[in-house]
Symmetry: C2
Subunit: 110 residues, 2 copies
DNA sequence: CTCTTGTGCAACTCTGTGGTTGCAGCTGAG
DNA sequence: CTCAGCTGCAACCACAGAGTTGCACAAGAG
């Protein structure tokens, strides 16, 4: 229940460079690893690795275009994770509320 | 804009042990580090470190109760991050749409 | 055909950090 | 007062992964 790929998204989003990469990709809309490498202060190889992680998490998708590989953002995984987090937050509230009531009851009923 | 503590939340949530810890805390509603240590297969010290990270991210709060420290879940930071992610997903969609239209225009207008 | 450019693979370094153990210091319980 | 339990600090180990460099290969441009 707590693992339909959300952990992959979380792990991917946790890295600053990766978020910057997503930003750069959002700005370009579509770009190759080499192009993105010129936006960030890291080597092309590092970019490639990050893109692999992001693709694994479903945050980007790749498509070969001639001799280069174009990467595109995929919002669905991000959106799904957002919903999951929101639901989790709600769950916490619910549980805490339940426990708080129980505590008050015990306190009163003892 | 992309950094009001969201990165801290992301970083905190990215760790499996930390998520398990949050789960355990959700189940208990409130617990000390020692108590939580009995729920997870790691030492108390590891728990303490994780709790520190979680507190730094605003996901839990601590309160001294006599000789022990009680930790409680804080849903707001999680919820805020969820909203941020959702907004980001929307932003991606918007940008991609814009770029796609531009591309079609160029294609048509050339 | 040749040159250029982008990709893919592999080996390697090094910092961050998750995890451990040990010990000292408080503080409530008896 | 004394004991037990929980916290806090510090040193230390080990692995993951972020980043690099180097080279070989594929494919459009001239």
């Amino acid at each position: 229940m707590s693992d339909t790929g959300f952990d992959a998204v979380l792990g991917a989003m946790a890295d600053p460079t990766r978020r910057a990469l997503l930003d750069a990709l959002a700005a370009r809309g579509q770009a190759s690893a080499s192009a993105l490498a010129s936006d960030l202060p890291v080597s092309r190889q590092a970019i490639v690795k990050h893109l692999a992680v992001l693709e694994e998490a479903g945050l980007v998708s790749s498509a070969r275009a001639g001799r280069e590989v174009r990467y595109t953002l995929r919002s669905q995984a991000l959106d799904a994770t957002a919903r999951w987090m929101s639901a989790l937050a709600g769950d916490w509230d619910r549980r805490l509320d339940t426990i708080k009531r129980a505590a008050e009851n015990t306190e009163n009923n003892d």
